[in-house]
Symmetry: C2
Subunit: 158 residues, 2 copies
Amino acid sequence: MKAEYINPFITSLGTVFRTMLHCEVKRGQIGLKANCQPNYPISGVIGLSGNAVGTVVLSMSEQVAMKAASTLLLTEYAEITADVLDAVGELTNMVAGRAKSQLEELQLSVSLPNIITGQDHDVRFPSNVTPICVPFETPWGPLTLEVGLAPVAVPAGA
Amino acid sequence: MKAEYINPFITSLGTVFRTMLHCEVKRGQIGLKANCQPNYPISGVIGLSGNAVGTVVLSMSEQVAMKAASTLLLTEYAEITADVLDAVGELTNMVAGRAKSQLEELQLSVSLPNIITGQDHDVRFPSNVTPICVPFETPWGPLTLEVGLAPVAVPAGA
């Protein structure tokens, strides 16, 4: 994917965390997925389609998920509940939604967020797509943003 | 989601397995996710957007993934490699791609397939979406198809 496409997602993540969670995030070194951290145990995943196809993955520790959900939903969560996982999905949706409006030439639409759980899970992209991985530090712990975008292929079955 | 929306995905899965993998699948009891099997260790996930938003999840054992990849790529795989995972993503893409052409009124486009690995992983949908889960038996072992679709919401940030 073109490197400049990552910037709207980075900006969007900062804005969503600042405005929705009153939380300042600190960006680390941008890299390709192979050099980045593994996924944390909770990942929000949302698809993008339009003049490119892709995926946004927001991966975080249980601590970050609980703190983010507590702030977003004004309720204290001390364990991972359906509400906490919904909040992770909604944050992923907001990050993708804000970014797509800054990538007008790609005419992106977003799909439904899914939330992947499991200590050792990994969210992989097809081998021909190299996602860009951006680590962030929050006051609650680390999280990673991954974005992979590919040119539109001929639809399967067409 | 409307129950009739699941049928194109079921038909598509049968057609893809028959034509691409020379493999007859046997459908089990359609259910809601809560009553269905847990995810198998490898899941292909692809987003849908258009006049509805959603996700297709194709979840299978390592054995089914290796056998499917071996047939699709005409190479014998005895372990999980990047090629095997790519094949799972491509199968998921084909199932979603064929189904969307039968759901013209939804004007769906598909995103990029991702492949989730991890023995205990789970692919969750937002609480307000109840995915339909369809178990299948193949000669290589079981797999499940999950489809969740929701009406389009106002985009985040709009």
